[in-house]
């Protein structure tokens, strides 16, 4: 049984504001102050402000400060109570009973109750929030509300990842009294939201800005500190940096690698590294091998490609240091599931790559290229050459990939495409040899890892099993992991999965990417995701 109370939340917040480790909020140059306005730049106009009906990062970035989840996640991705004060886990993980916080009100003054939670899940999240619908929706049996302060989720079988899927990004709670009986996609409140979050809606000028004001009745005492948060829409990344330098904005959610070094040198700014973004967290740039293509049938060829890749160069030259070499199929951001020291995880070794290619029957010619000699399914004399499909915005990855593989005699043809066309080419038409995708793992492997490897996700669903990998033991291990509630035991199952994956190599995991938040030195107290400005302050 798990019980986490508000005391834990308060101590987490205190911990957060004192901590100096990377990835947690920066220390204040001065002590926090009350009042003032924070101007944050956002990249795109969200169009609407209801985070429950979409997983769009633009909408979540612009709206999460106005809403809450049942839980929030600490920087270590541990769930602590938010709208829920505590919870019990029964029936070996098939029943979750949440005890809701007392005295929480919506921004319009109406009381928040268990009916809001039931409504948000049944009528909105499980229909329109694609991540929650695809995972929780499949496993859930029923939701009941024994009283106004209690809500119970019953699952068909034990469902371990649930507490990690209840933060404001995965499951924001919206008011039943405003949405009941309406089409949630077309409710006018999507433009004038009513939430329970630290900031309340003030105004929205489409394409220009969203203004939020302090929620004076917020359930965390003393928060928020800021009077106002203004989210300015500045689509161009360079213009965002210039606006920060000119003092027109105080906070950027990300900054191009090339500008980062300059801002660091210039001074006057603070930096917060994070792997968490409202659109997806714990992302790994992953090369997929299309296992339906003859060239990738032999695992030695796949391993040769993987060992010919020098991932550190991607960190240095593509990410400008905003990331690290991936060491396992599951992100290091999911601590309990990430497996260290996998002996079969490929690391850069040019000689091994050359040897593996020779063994697989790809023989070097005088001009340095390789041709097939006894490779199964491929006529002798066929040159070793394959396509590499990628988003146009990932061109720097493509150039480096091509250059590194040319070094061991592999010819790569780059095929850059716009994202929606990419999705169709790779997942619907399956007309590609290899590709690179930023697979975001999320807070739990059930959210963003499983879809890459289980055989049931081979097919037309975008950003699922690109490799068309099918291994019955992996399928059943994922089932086992979902129903194993003890984190230690669950982690062991994920370790077994990763051991098989690095042996089979349907993919190669290149780098874990990070974003760098940059903010003016006169501000502080930020946290990584969701309610990034909940405890923030700005000296005017």
């Amino acid at each position: 049984m798990l019980r986490r109370g508000s005391a834990l939340v308060v101590s987490a917040v205190l911990l957060v504001s004192c901590s100096t480790t990377e990835g947690t909020p920066e220390p204040a140059a001065d002590s926090p102050v009350r009042g003032g306005t924070l101007v944050a730049a956002i990249t795109a106009d969200p169009g609407q402000l209801n985070p429950a009906i979409t997983t769009s990062g633009d909408v979540h970035t612009a709206s999460e400060l106005m809403y809450n989840g049942l839980v929030s996640l600490t920087p270590d991705r541990e769930p602590v109570g938010e709208l829920a004060e505590s919870w019990d886990v029964e029936d070996n993980g098939a029943l979750y009973r949440f005890h809701l916080r007392e005295g929480v009100t919506w921004h319009d003054g109406e009381p928040f109750t268990s009916a809001d939670v039931k409504f948000s899940f049944e009528k909105v999240l499980l229909k329109y929030h694609s991540r929650t619908a695809a995972s929780v929706g499949q496993a859930l049996e029923s939701i009941s509300t024994p009283d106004e302060r209690t809500v119970e989720f019953r699952f068909k079988e034990p469902y371990a990842p649930f507490p990690l899927q209840l933060d404001v990004t995965e499951a924001p709670i919206i008011p039943e009294h405003i949405y009941a009986g309406t089409d949630p996609l077309e409710n006018p409140a999507n433009l004038e939201p009513v939430g329970t979050g630290p900031f309340a809606f003030e105004s929205y000028k489409p394409g220009a800005e969203i203004r939020l004001v302090r929620n004076p009745d917020y359930f965390i005492d003393g928060q928020p500190l800021l009077d106002e948060v203004v989210l300015r829409v500045i689509p161009d990344a360079e213009s965002q940096v210039i606006a920060l330098e000119a003092g027109e904005v105080d906070w950027l959610f990300g900054v191009p690698g090339a500008d980062l070094a300059r801002l660091e040198e210039d001074g006057g700014f603070e930096f917060l590294r994070t792997t968490v973004n409202p659109g997806g967290s714990n992302c790994i740039m992953t090369v997929s091998f299309n296992l339906e293509k003859p060239v990738f049938q032999d695992v030695r060829t796949r391993r040769a490609v993987a060992t010919a890749i020098d991932s550190q160069q991607f960190v240095d030259r593509v990410l400008f240091g905003q990331g690290k070499v991936a060491e396992a199929p599951i992100s290091s951001g999911i601590d309990f599931a990430h497996a260290d020291d996998l002996p079969d995880m490929p690391t850069y070794d040019k000689q091994t790559a050359e040897d593996l290619l020779d063994e697989a029957g790809w023989i070097r010619q005088g001009d340095g290229t390789r041709v097939a000699q006894g490779v199964q399914g491929i006529p002798d004399g066929t040159p070793l050459s394959f396509g590499f499909t990628l988003f146009t915005s990932f061109d720097a990855y493509g150039d480096l990939f091509k250059a590194q593989l040319a070094d061991v005699g592999i010819d790569v043809e780059l095929d850059p495409q716009e994202p929606d066309i990419f999705a169709e080419t790779v997942f619907v038409d399956r007309d590609f040899d290899s590709n690179i995708i930023s697979y975001c793992n999320g807070a739990d492997p059930e959210i963003g890892v499983k879809r890459m490897y289980v055989s049931s996700t081979i097919g037309p669903v975008p950003f699922s099993n690109a490799a068309a990998y099918s291994n019955p033991s992996v399928d059943s291990l994922f089932d086992q992991a979902r129903t194993t509630v003890d984190p230690g035991e669950r982690g062991e199952v994920y370790r077994q999965i990763q051991e098989i994956l690095v042996e089979d190599l349907p993919y190669f995991w290149v780098v874990e990417t990070e974003a760098t938040r940059v903010y003016s030195s006169r501000c502080g107290g930020f946290s990584q995701a969701g309610h990034f400005a909940e405890a923030a302050y700005c000296r005017q």
């Binding site: 694609s130 077309e186 220009a208 300015r232 213009s239 994202p419 080419t425």
Partner: protein, 321 residues
């Protein structure tokens, strides 16, 4: 010119717009990609995608989708935006004033500066002032809009601090009434100048050529011989004939301004329709895309019509039948 002519020209707008919408509809719906992907992000399952497609009628055959679109349009309804869940016409109209303000200001600046440059260079033919001004104009014409934009931001906003870097209003001190107008005007200067820059070049060059031709013509020589002072010769006798082609160009440049506005709005964070179009194209939000197509094509056609009418006013010999 008769009322009949005007009515005929107005009636022509209908089939032209219909054709534009039809081509636009086909282009958007036959292009690869899927609007549901933009909505769902990357984590939906097959069931979710099917549900959303059905909700927006995207699972229907294309001809039925077209039929629904036309039927709605006949009632003045462009349809509901997939992403925003409200009428596309409402969304477009919200963003229209910002774009109108930007393009109208740019067109005014371009016309005044262009005519000014044209007169200045034509009356100083082959002098160093002519050569310098012509070179500068050609450079602004050749430079991409985003480059001029970034350069002006670095020089006058970040460098000199005279103008704000981005946006249409100040973020920190919202204003009302007159101070609001001043605030918007302050934010408008740089984007309007950038959008006007290539148009100044086009209008300036054309005015110069036209004016030089007129200055060598018989009626101008006669005016000079009669002793009219030089400003009078240029302003009254030569300019009227010289601006004929310029008017045509100004009318035709409306389309260029609309496309230039897209880039300028992105660079300056100007909350107009151009940026709405960029977002809608990314999301394949076809009701918004088609609505903007319709609006822009109607504007261009109207601008052409007005150009033709100004022709008649400038030169009564031009008769339309």
């Amino acid at each position: 010119m008769s009322w009949g002519y005007l009515l005929r020209r107005l009636a022509q707008l209908v089939p032209t717009s219909a054709l534009i919408l039809l081509v636009g509809f086909a282009l958007i719906h036959l292009a690869p990609g899927d609007p549901v992907l933009a909505l769902a992000g990357e984590h939906g399952d097959a069931e979710y995608y099917a549900f959303m497609r059905a909700k927006f009628g995207l699972d229907q055959p294309l001809h039925e989708q077209l039929f629904t679109f036309v039927a709605n349009l006949a009632h003045g309804d462009l349809g509901t935006s997939y992403v925003q869940g409200r009428p596309a016409s409402q969304i477009i109209l919200e963003r229209l004033p910002a774009t109108l303000l930007l393009t109208a200001t740019a067109l005014t600046i371009a016309s005044i500066l262009g005519l000014g440059f044209g007169i200045f260079t034509a009356t100083r033919r082959r002098a160093w002032q002519d050569t310098t001004a012509t070179t500068v104009l050609l450079a602004t014409y050749a430079a991409p809009v985003f480059l001029i934009g970034q350069a002006l931001i670095l020089l006058f906003a970040l460098g000199a601090g005279w103008f704000p870097v981005q946006g249409m209003t100040s973020a920190v001190t919202p204003s009302n009434g007159f101070s609001h107008a001043v605030d918007v005007a302050h934010h408008l200067v740089l984007p309007a100048l950038v959008l006007a820059a290539p148009e100044v070049a086009v209008i300036g060059r054309l005015t110069r050529v036209g004016l030089l031709q007129e200055l060598g013509s018989d009626h101008v020589r006669t005016a000079r011989a009669k002793g009219s002072p030089p400003p009078m010769v240029v302003g009254k006798h030569a300019l009227r004939g010289a601006v004929m082609p310029v008017v045509t160009v100004i009318g035709n440049r409306v389309a260029h301004l609309a496309s230039g506005a897209v880039v300028v709005e992105v660079v300056f964070g100007w909350p107009g329709m151009g940026r709405l179009l960029v977002d809608a194209l990314r999301d394949q939000d076809s009701p918004i895309i088609l609505g903007i197509f319709l609006l822009v094509s109607l504007t261009v056609m109207t601008a052409n019509l007005i150009t033709d009418l100004i022709y008649v006013w400038l030169d009564p010999r031009v008769l339309f039948s």
